[in-house]
Amino acid sequence: MSEQKGLEAYAEIRFLAPEECRFEESPGGLLVLHVDGERYESVAVHRAFPFTYGDDYLSVRDKEGNEIGMIKTLKVFDEQTQTLIRKELERRYFVPTITRIDRIKEEFGYGYWEVQTDRGPRRLTIRGVHESVIPIGEERVLIIDVDGNRYEIPRLSDLDPKSYKLIDQYLV
């Protein structure tokens, strides 16, 4: 056996550094990336660790879904680029925050919820309970409806008493 080499010796992550690339928004509202003299139209930004690292370790992909490179952390980019990429992330990861629960009606193992979100009022349908209302840690709750839409309650303790009482029955 020869000397031990780290994994870096065999594979490489292409991290995009702020000085070598430029992000801009197209007039049509799509994200454009200039890097290595290339122009990529309509790039997508995926979170590699949506729960644990959030805005770190982002994968930037071209229209076909091939990875152009990764962003280790957004912090190293200038304000404007950060805003642009955050906007793109917000579009890709559409998870409205539930601010209030008005009503929950249950019928046949389905829950019909009427809620207020930061994106406006919404009616949603969830199936079962335990697979659809998922506590993450002590305070955060993720709700997935039958269509696969996601909603979030970032802090349970911020809910008003009535809403809390309504959701409490689902939190075992």
Binding site: S26, P27, G28, G29, L30, E41, S42, A44, E90, R91, R92, Y93, F94, V95, P96, E107, F108, G109, Y110, Y112, T117, D118, R119, G120, P121, R122, T125, R127, H130, D145, V146, D147, G148, N149, R150, Q169, V172
Partner: protein, 754 residues
């Protein structure tokens, strides 16, 4: 014009104001989201010349309010002539339509997952119109038609589960559950009889031990004064009869319970076998297993505990209250005073206790999951030396269980004493008031004792009644889920008058096939392939290109989304499924062998095969030699606790199985991927015998395996990119050639390492 929802007058008048009349539109539909990601309706329409977009004006979006009536709307048009393509981009929880013209590309609209299907359809129609293609009726097939309840038109809450909660009312489910009753009517009648007898005896007991014993036997002026021995015999006799009834009741009950569960499980299991592969892949196997087991169990409670107990408890409450009222109505009324307090307490506190029960159940399940995980994966744990980490992981879950058990214990410690205290409250009242009445002579001592005994008997049924709602919901949900399975339609239904195909020649025609597992995500696009009888086709391409999907469509494990697959000129959707399956054989990468002997496994598709046939099939599969070498030969039991076979051996058994099945069309999906080269040669030989005279479609990563194929079909990203013989494709220096080069290089590296 097609539309799937009522059009607001405001939208219509805005269209009219721009000179667009509704009838001239091909399609008009709503999305539920604005470009900035707020919930609000926007409308999209398309006619022969333009795409129209009606959306709330920006000021409304910024406020995050939905556009109510009177909100100002923005009207935009995009000429079809400029549009090159509209594509739908699926993201997390939402998607967007991106419109591309010659000059630019922009986001036309966004939509939540709820409307993904409809918007995908819109994109398809616009693309067709932009290309100048004619629209067909099937383009407009209402994506809601299959997902809305045919009775009331309401969308199913869950598109994968076609149950309309509005139309399936609980009463009909209840009636359907009751329809199971006649099957067990003797048992249920007997159970009811013994239960009633038990109730009657129980209700009699306090009376005899109270009024009769104290007032008639022990009291000086009693009717049976002094006949104590006889009295004791009567009481003991009654207890004996009571014991006998409860034994009978329990026995019949146990028997019926077992029967109900058995019958239900068989029905559910048979229903599941009829369903298509899609049904199983959409749901986790685990949840289906729970469904068979737990739901049958839950429904069993209905017959076992629920219905009889409900009837008996109702009767018991009525009987006791009546008796008490008749004995002494004033005292009875006083007694009932604390009853509401108890009911209130139970209704308030018990749900908390149930919640803790559920929580403990969940935590226990999590603990079991860890156990199951590490015990099945113990080789990995040992190999990576992670024993300590696993102990920690277990400890975390274990601690959770401990915590919740502790909470449960504490709660019970408070709850139950409080409860019995509340219950004895009634007793105190009786002692005080009744005692006073006894002193004044208005009440006999026996009646007082009777009262107190009855009181004790009242609380059990009362407590039962407090969770009757819970129990009812539980049972009905379980029943509903079971019926849903019993009623579920296969995604690949047999045609009404299936075309019989007793002996096919093996001609396969794939005609313009598009297939998607999920809306807007085609896995195969515009596949055209004509396979002649007896031809051997090799499907080549990267993993995930859609090769296996093609074979799944040919054997009709799924149905095409668009286009058609014809075997001998007959659309597989019109053909008899049984005929089809009988003549299509599959050998898969991971050969699944069922528990049973090798002979049984080989004869799986032909249970009446003779030993000679089994041996011949094994010989052709190069399996005979190793099988006979096994101590138990063809009777060797495989599977759990059975003999362990190597990958190549299992594979050869599965080939023998396919050989005995003698299909006209043979599908090999990576049949030799998991075996070494020596074994592969062995299997290859066997396969060549298998190919003769049959249409063969083979998928293999090792391209060398497919050299002898009549034609190779190269698939990339769901489309056919190259077709030809090995030699032709090598000459062409295209995709196949590249794949080949890469594999050769990989092989060279392999040699170097060795």
């Amino acid at each position: 014009m097609h539309t799937t929802e009522p059009i607001p007058a405001q939208v219509e008048s805005l269209l009219n104001a721009h000179g667009v009349q509704l009838p001239s539109l091909h399609l008009l539909l709503a999305t539920d989201m604005t470009l900035t990601g707020h919930y609000s309706e926007s409308w999209l329409g398309v006619d022969d010349k333009y795409v129209y977009m009606i959306s709330p004006s920006p000021s409304y979006e910024q406020n995050g309010r939905s556009a109510g009536p009177g909100a100002s709307l923005r009207f935009e048009t995009y000429p079809l002539a400029d549009i090159e393509e509209v594509r739908s981009v699926n993201m997390m929880g939402n998607g967007m339509l991106v419109l591309r013209t010659k000059q630019t590309e922009f986001v036309l609209c966004r939509y939540s997952n709820t409307r993904a299907k409809q918007l995908g359809q819109f994109a398809k129609i616009v693309n067709k119109l932009a290309k100048g293609e004619a629209l067909e009726a099937e383009d407009f097939e209402d994506p809601r038609a299959e997902v809305a309840c045919p009775k009331c038109g309401q969308l199913y809450p869950d598109q994968n589960r076609k149950v309309c909660p509005k139309c399936v009312d609980r009463r009909s489910v209840f009636l359907r559950v009751l329809s199971f009753v006649p099957r067990y009517k003797t048992q249920i009648a007997l159970i009811l009889f013994f239960m009633l007898a038990g109730v009657a005896l129980n209700a009699l007991n306090p009376y005899i031990q109270g009024v009769i014993l104290f007032d008639e036997v022990l009291a000086e002026d009693g009717k049976y004064h002094g006949r104590l021995v006889e009295m004791v015999f009567v009481i003991a006799g009654l207890q004996l009869v009571s014991l006998l009834t409860s034994i009978m009741h329990a026995r019949i009950n146990a028997q019926m319970t077992a029967e109900v569960v058995r019958d239900l499980k068989v029905e559910v299991y048979a229903a599941m076998q009829r369903l298509s592969l899609g049904f199983f892949t959409k749901r986790q196997t685990g949840s289906l297993m729970t469904r068979v087991n737990d739901d049958a169990m839950n429904l069993q409670y209905f017959f076992h505990d629920g219905l009889p107990f409900f009837i008996v408890n109702c009767l018991q409450i009525i009987a006791i209250v009546t008796v008490m009222l008749r004995l002494n109505w004033q005292l009875a009324l006083v007694l009932l005073v604390p009853a509401p307090a108890i009911v209130w307490f139970v209704a308030k506190v018990y749900p908390k206790l149930w919640k803790i029960f559920t929580r403990r159940h969940m935590k226990n399940r999590a603990l079991n999951a860890v156990l199951n995980d590490t015990l099945t994966g113990f080789r990995v744990v040992k190999a990576f030396g992670r024993e300590d980490a696993e102990i920690d992981r277990f400890e975390v879950r274990n601690l959770d269980v401990y915590d919740v058990s502790l909470a449960e214990g504490r709660m019970k410690a408070i709850l139950f004493p409080t409860m019995s205290m509340l219950m004895s409250l009634g007793g105190f009242v009786v002692w005080a008031l009744g005692g006073a009445q006894v002193l004044t002579g208005a009440l006999t001592f026996g009646t007082l004792m009777t009262f107190i005994n009855y009181l004790g008997m009242l609380y059990g049924p009362l407590e039962f009644m407090t969770h009757i709602v819970d129990w009812w919901t539980h049972c009905m949900n379980a029943a509903q889920r079971i019926f849903e399975l019993l009623d579920a339609q296969s995604d690949v239904p047999e045609a009404a008058n299936p075309v019989r195909l007793p002996a096919i020649r093996g001609e396969v025609e794939i005609d313009n096939v598009t297939f998607e597992y999920e809306p807007n995500k085609p896995v195969l696009r515009d596949i055209n392939l004509h396979i002649k009888p007896g031809e051997m086709i090799g499907l080549v391409g990267h993993s995930g290109a859609g090769k296996s999907t093609i074979t799944n469509l040919i054997s009709r494990l799924y149905d095409v989304t668009e286009g058609a697959i014809r075997i001998d000129g007959v659309d597989v959707r019109d053909a008899s499924v049984a005929d089809l399956r009988r003549q299509i054989g599959m050998v898969l990468q991971e050969p699944y062998l069922f528990q049973g002997s090798i002979a049984e496994n080989i004869a799986y598709a032909k249970p009446d095969a003779t030993p000679e046939e089994i041996i011949l099939a094994a010989m052709m599969a190069n399996a005979h030699y190793f099988i006979v070498n096994l101590p138990d030969g063809y009777d060797t039991v495989i599977g759990r606790r059975g003999h362990n076979l190597s990958g190549g051996e299992r594979q050869r058994i599965s080939i023998a199985r396919a050989l005995l099945h003698n299909p006209r069309i043979l599908i090999l999906d990576e049949a030799t991927a998991s075996v070494d080269t020596e074994t592969e040669r062995n299997i290859q030989e066997a396969l060549e015998r298998l190919f003769e005279g049959r249409t063969t479609i083979a998928i293999a990563h090792r391209l060398s395996t497919l050299r002898d194929a009549d034609r190779l079909v190269v698939i990339e990203k769901g489309q056919i990119v190259e077709v030809g013989t090995h030699a032709e494709l090598v000459k062409k220096r295209g995709v196949y050639y590249n794949l080949l080069q890469k594999q050769r290089e990989a092989l060279k590296i392999g040699v170097k390492i060795a």
